[in-house]
């Protein structure tokens, strides 16, 4: 019996289910809502883990091909997949950090002037996982990791929205909401650069919104399509560079080109499974978090996900995204100089590039949008390349993935460097 309890309660899926259960009970929900919410959270988390293993599986032959073709490590920056992939090892710390960081966030919003409530759920999860990984590498685990991780994350959840609030207010024309997204600092920096590069004779007509852009590219807004195209190209190019013999060795005798195309599509399917899991467990947790925060900190600004900006510059969103892809590709081709190749992180380029386009357009006109998008794509891809040696995720059996979110990387690297000064970690 004791054995059953220990094994059952230390399972990451059950931990996160209990978190949801607690929240739903505290919110005084009906019994049926409590049961539905708890079970859907558990299923969501299981789906997420299943997606992660599909992704990790599809990356194993890719990493081998890449290594053999170029003699370098190739990584895809994707936080959710990475963090979901380490749950078998850090599955207790991650959900606990996610929960307690929210508690810290509420306390800070109540007692300090930083009245922000961070509500972007998948980013709370990925940041919590980043904290668990970085602390684990410093030799810190269990409750100590949960306490440190929750405090760092809770502080980040109010500080980053506060940093971007000046620009957020300017773009949205409202001070009621904030920007809760772990790429906000880079998007704001892109906007700042765009502002400096504004043309001298620029007026309010200097905006992409006055330009008609064909809607032909609209189908790319379903990001699975773009990701499918990019990943097939990346896998096929790598396979050709590695050569038929190497790939046939990996495919177990199957046709090598058919094998790599299927692996590339499997990678994307894994991402879609993962996101479905994220969707299912956030659909239950976030409304609970929102309800609790509205009760405890009335009038605080909700810090929301990046698409809130797209409506303020739909054309600039497309321009920013396209420029980010170009900037990102330039960085991919330059990244081998750092000793690691960062492949295009389509989700990041898409969502962050779009926002950089809007910020750039509003602050720096047409030229500003192009500069902001390109800079963002370049920096977003180059930062993982530069920071890669500091945090090693291969020890969790994961190859070919690394962190993507700029803000999480900044915080993680600061923690790692601080830990190294104090002589922690190997």
């Amino acid at each position: 019996m004791v054995n059953f309890l220990v094994e059952f309660l230390s399972n990451p899926t059950i931990v996160i289910g209990l978190v949801a259960l607690l929240g739903l009970v505290l919110m005084k929900n009906k019994l049926t809502t409590v049961i539905t919410g708890t079970l859907k959270t558990i299923f969501g988390f299981m789906i997420l883990s299943a997606g992660a293993s599909v992704i990790v599986g599809a990356l194993i032959p890719f990493s081998a091909m890449f290594q053999s073709a170029f003699g370098l490590t190739g990584i895809v920056p994707e936080d959710n997949a990475l963090v979901a992939g380490v749950q078998t090892v850090l599955g207790f710390e991650t959900p606990m950090i996610m929960l307690f960081s929210f508690v810290i966030n509420i306390i800070l919003a109540r007692v300090t002037p930083f009245k922000y409530i961070f509500l972007t759920g998948h980013m709370m999860f990925s940041f919590a996982g980043t904290m668990a990984i970085v602390l684990d590498q410093l030799g810190i685990n269990g409750w100590t990791a949960i306490i440190i991780g929750s405090i760092v994350q809770g502080v980040s959840m109010v500080v980053f929205p506060a940093i971007s609030q000046r620009y957020t207010k300017r773009i949205l024309g409202s001070d009621d909401v904030a920007f809760g997204f772990w790429g906000s600092s880079l998007i704001v920096l892109s906007g700042f650069i765009a502002k400096k590069c504004r043309k001298k004779n620029s007026d309010e007509n200097d905006t992409w919104e006055k330009v008609k852009v064909p809607e032909k590219l609209g189908f790319l807004k379903d990001m699975s399509i773009l990701m499918g195209i990019v990943m097939v190209i990346v896998y096929v190019v790598t396979a050709i560079a590695a050569g038929k013999d190497v790939v046939t060795g990996l495919s177990g005798g199957k046709n090598w080109i058919a094998f790599v195309i299927l692996q590339a599509l499997t990678f994307v399917a894994g991402i879609l499974i993962l996101l479905q899991g994220v969707r299912m467990f956030l659909g239950e947790i976030i409304p609970a978090f929102k309800g609790i925060s509205e009760k405890l900190v009335p009038g605080a600004r909700p810090a929301l996900d990046v698409p809130i900006f797209y409506a303020y510059g739909p054309t600039a969103t497309t321009i920013g995204f396209l420029c980010a892809v170009v900037g990102g590709l330039v960085a991919t081709f330059l990244s081998p100089l750092t000793g690691v190749v960062v492949l295009p992180g389509v989700i990041g380029l898409f969502f962050m590039g779009g926002a950089a386009g809007v910020f750039g357009d509003k602050l720096g006109g047409k030229r500003g949008a192009v500069i902001a998008g390109s800079f963002l794509g370049f920096a977003f891809t180059m930062i993982p390349a530069l920071c890669y040696p500091l945090i090693d995720v291969t020890r969790y059996g994961i190859s070919g993935l690394w962190f993507a979110s700029t803000d999480a990387i900044i915080v993680g690297v600061i923690m790692k460097l601080a830990g190294m000064i104090f002589g922690l970690g190997a």
Partner: protein, 88 residues
């Protein structure tokens, strides 16, 4: 009634929009169930109407009413646009 909200990823802005719609529903005395999904997953889901931000509405093809919200942060606009569709 059952509502589907759509955004690029299906758990950020669409979830916020869904919560706002549910809040408006309660104000009018209707219990609204719903689901936030991404652009790849809305098809074939049973619902009374679909809501999404204007810039992705053009990608949505459905025989159900599709409500385009220009500004997801403007609760007045959301209320004005969805209230004609509210029913038991």
């Amino acid at each position: 009634m059952h509502v589907i909200t759509v955004c690029g990823m299906g758990f950020g802005t669409s979830l916020m929009l869904l919560m706002n719609i549910q809040e408006i529903g309660r104000k009018y005395g209707f219990e609204i169930t719903g689901e936030a999904v991404d652009l790849g997953s809305y098809k074939g889901k049973p619902c009374d109407f679909i809501a999404a931000s204007s810039e992705i509405v053009r990608q949505i093809i459905s025989d159900k009413p599709v409500v385009a919200i220009d500004n997801l942060l403007n609760k007045k606009e959301v209320e004005n646009k969805i209230s004609p569709y509210l029913k038991k």
